[in-house]
């Protein structure tokens, strides 16, 4: 019983850590691989849908900056 619980905890922790690592790569992958040094953390990065949702929620207009990362 004790062994089963330990395996359960270990699996849960591995899943949490694994999903966190995956999320980080997904979220930061494009910015990192492009080495986009000009990108601000305060801005939504390459996600129009997120911008639209936040605009409607906040009532603010969007400033969409289309850039070519060299």
């Amino acid at each position: 019983m004790r062994r089963t619980t330990a395996i359960g905890w270990a699996t849960s922790i591995a899943l949490v850590l694994g999903s966190a690592a995956w999320l980080t790569a997904e979220e930061r992958g494009l910015k990192q691989v492009l080495d986009d040094k000009q990108a601000s953390d305060a801005w939504i990065y390459d996600d129009l849908d997120a911008g639209i949702k936040q605009s409607m929620k906040s009532g603010k207009p969007m400033l969409l900056s289309f850039v070519c990362v060299p």
Partner: protein, 368 residues
Amino acid sequence: MASQKDPELKSLMDKFVCVRIVQMGGVDLRVYQFDPLLSWAVMFMYGDTTIYGRYGSASPQAKRSKKDSNPNHTLAGLKAALRAALALHEAHLRNPAFEAVLQKKSGFALPWRYVEETPVAKLHRRLKRVEGEDTKGCVHCHEIPQALIDSSFMSWRKVTDRMLWMHPDPAILGLSLSRDHCARVTAVAEGSLAAQAGIQVGDDLELLDGQPLCSVADVQWVLHRFPDAGGPLTAFVRRGESHRSVKMELEPGWRRKGDWAWRYRVAGYAMWLWGGVTLEDTDEGVRVSHLAPWWFKRENKAAKQKLKVGDVIVEVDGKTGWTRSTYLAYLMREKMPGSPVELVVMRRGTKTKVAFPVPSPRPKIMGH
């Protein structure tokens, strides 16, 4: 970032939801329309897809340098555009009927919604949205017009004047505009449409074709959207405390008086595709200023043997009055691959006949 150093700019930008878009894959081309041949362009819009304006423009007059990548962009101009966009946003939220005023700010119909749907994308798997760490194939903004032109060829659709003479410079109306204001006139060319309409230096264009203006890019958008067939273009102008409405009559084919060949991304592509020849406009005709040896060696030996640097094209298939833009557009739209083009060129003061076949178009997206 400039906004961190400039409190006024930061205060203005804090009123926006700021989004940085670095790829055009997965972007709805029917909604997000702007001058794509820039390294940086801005759209102001609300989450309900109401568009307030655009910022960022290029022109043949803008000289690029390492210090100043685009002199058309100024901090004062950006702030003016931000203020104007905020005013339009407030008006839109206050009065839903105001949406009608902004209607022409929206993009127009395109045969394809996403670049991934274009026929050319089926040939080039790179033309897709990239996710996560798979960033080898970002679709760049400047690749969009190339993809649309190529796909039009491939699907037997017409390559329109608008596709080539895109986002025309206000100079086509005879106007020079301040880069520090929304749309303030700094010069009016003698005898131009603007001069005939009575527009003067110092005037502020407030509405053009019924559209409120945030920037020079908005003026270019109005011209971009205006029909190829021409017609009356109205402007609502503020001069000091007074206002007046003026009208400029654009002729059919009005765009062709402008130049698109300076847009090197498209022009370079067209030249690669149709001749490998670098051209420049002169008073005498279209001068061949460079022949790409690699291209001729592989693709068009006949032209290499017949054209010389310094030749001035004065006649194409029996017609005169060409510019490099109209010449390239003619080759792109009217000629089938392999069909002959007959030129008369001035070579060392003598008229010389030159004929060579138009090479086969092989759509290829030029990226980095």
